[in-house]
């Protein structure tokens, strides 16, 4: 794969959100509309205790991905009510067009006591080209189960003739607090589920993508695109601890491919994209989203500090 970095295309600090300077533009995810490419992302506010809450906003670009047309910061989807799975944030959101509607698969956050958070996957539907979304219920569509005990999140959904496919992550371990960490570290892996209609999902059980670093490797945010007859997955991965400030242990972009959706070959060496030597994506790359627009295939991603400074774009170059 051969990606050409276009550069950072959205800087949150240049925009405002809920009366303050926008902080973070995480996990950009695109849908292509008639007159624009709409890129959803998660940004943050702080609650009365100073703790972050993630909210969804979007930015529209022209279909050549050359110009930012507008930034939309009015509420798109509300956070959940007291005690629900998405009470304390939605991050990320995955959007899929289907029969004139836009389906948003959300990763909802709620806070815990012994560990910082729990997450589950929800569904909301838009009938106005993704301007506003209505949740189909107050609970999740995919959550913890016997062998995937917590931290079900990061959905990515595709629809084809075989039905609905969802790649997502699930937690396998909360680690004891070490000297370097202020709260328990988590380990999570990429899983896979299928559905006939996008609401009732069957987990296909188990880790889909082999570890590269070690058994405690954290794998996040899978995104999959089919090019000719091969499925290509991008995701990000990191060490379980000391990953925030140590650039050697932070998020990198990983890559796998499959010809049958069952067997995946991990092949990071051929991902075709790396951290830059300097600048906004020199320490970390994470939260990739691959999408097709007209004749081009694009990759959105975050850089340093998990997207605090915005997101960038790369474009796939023609294969030799």
């Amino acid at each position: 794969m051969n990606w050409r970095k276009i550069g950072r295309i959205f800087e949150p600090a240049r925009h405002s959100f809920k009366g303050g300077v926008m902080e973070f533009a995480q996990s950009p995810q695109a849908i292509v509309l008639n007159d624009c490419v709409r890129i959803y992302f998660s940004t943050r506010t702080r609650d009365t205790q100073g703790t972050y809450l993630s909210h969804i906003a979007f930015a529209d670009f022209d279909r050549k991905m050359e110009n930012l047309l507008r930034v939309h910061t009015d509420p798109i989807i509300t956070l959940g009510s007291l005690g629900t799975f998405d009470e304390h944030g939605i991050f990320p959101i995955n959007v899929v067009k289907y029969e004139g509607k836009v389906y948003a698969f959300t990763c909802g956050w709620s806070r815990r006591v012994s560990v910082p958070v729990e997450t589950s996957i929800g569904l909301a539907v838009s009938r106005d080209d993704g301007l506003t979304f209505e949740k189909i219920g107050s609970g999740p569509i995919l959550t913890s189960s016997l062998q995937e005990p917590f931290l079900v999140g990061d959905p990515f959904v595709t629809i084809d003739a075989d039905g609905w496919h969802m790649w997502y992550i699930y937690g396998t371990k909360w680690m004891k607090i070490t000297e370097r960490e202020t709260s328990p570290a988590r380990v999570y892996k990429i899983g896979f589920a299928t559905s006939n209609e996008g609401i009732e999902w069957s987990k296909r059980a188990g880790q889909l993508i082999p570890d590269r670093l070690n058994a405690d490797e954290c794998q996040a945010l899978p995104t999959v695109i089919k090019i000719r007859n091969r499925h290509h997955m991008y995701f990000c991965y990191r060490e379980a601890t000391d990953f925030r400030n140590n650039k050697n242990r932070g998020y990198r972009i990983g890559y796998s491919y499959s010809d049958d959706l069952q067997n995946w070959v991990r092949d990071d060496g051929n991902s075709g994209i790396q951290c830059s030597t300097e600048g906004w994506d020199s320490d970390m790359m994470c939260y990739p989203n691959v999408f097709r627009c007209d004749d081009n295939i694009h990759l959105l991603y975050n850089g340093n500090e998990f997207g605090r400074y915005g997101f960038g774009l790369a474009s796939l170059q023609a294969q030799q």
Binding site: G80, S81, L82, G83, T84, F85, E87, H88, S110, R111, R112, V113, S114, V115, E118, S120, L123, I136, G137, S138, G139, P140, I141, T143, S144, S145, L146, Q147, E148, P149, F150, G171, W174, K176, P184, R186, I199
Partner: protein, 320 residues
Amino acid sequence: MFKWVKRGKIFDPTGGANPPWMSEFAQAPCVLKFDNFIRVYISCRPPPDAKGQYESRSAFVDLNRKNLLEIVQVSQTPTLSLGLPGTFDEFGTYPTSVIRNGIEIRAYYGGWTRCESVPFNVAIGLAVSQDQGVTFNRVGNGPVLSFSIDEPFVLSGPKIRRFGDLWQLFYIAGERWLPNNGKPEPVYRIRMATSNDGINWTKHSRDLIERRLGTDECQASPDVFFSNGRYHMFFCYRHGLDYRNGNRGYRIGYAVSNDMTKWSRDDSRAGIDVSLEGWDSEMISYPHVFELDGEIFMMYLGNQVGRFGFGLAQLNGSLT
């Protein structure tokens, strides 16, 4: 109206005779029959921690089958460990419902975690015993029945049954959290799921029992007993708030069904209520009905939801 004759309190965990982890409470009794004794599974608690919070542990009390007032053995260690950090049952296993499945015994239980905005959340776990119910091991680190679109939180109070070819799980599902001036309280109602194997469940996604005390009524302990061609459910119900006040606390309700899906509630037939004085004079809850050697009995809890133990009643007549 049924005629239940109270036989008195059977087991009181208070008084210091038991290990520290069962120093208070003997909640949600559930009976498993053996040749010479019956094993009554209960949930007990050690003293609360510095913040006043309790954990709940699974235990049993064996009663002489020929004389249910005689205790022949009390479990010396909890029958099930607490869950790992960050899992759904890290802070308690309560209540428990057991069933034989060939040579093994399965326990379905409510697993408790602690949350930030609300005090707790509960999902239903599954553990299996290979030693006649003395010790249980969980089938997975996650729940066997977890949250869904219209059952967003607080899945608890499992009662496992096998009528006919299917497995039935009666349980409660949280509907709303009442803010209650910063001390949130859940509203929950009785529901059911069915399964071919007791592991993969299909929720019926509807409330089985109509409300009697208004929209904030809470229903628990849906104990279903088949007799004379009909399904008889004894359960308990209370007001949503201020339920520690005796007049608003738990009472035992009754409903009957021909098919387990359509239920007719008629609390006036329950035939058991609080006593004028004594250990069950303020509250009566968590009924469990069982047949033993031709007689029908009910175990139940008294004041403060079983803080001072459980009692026994015997049916005069039959359930029709």
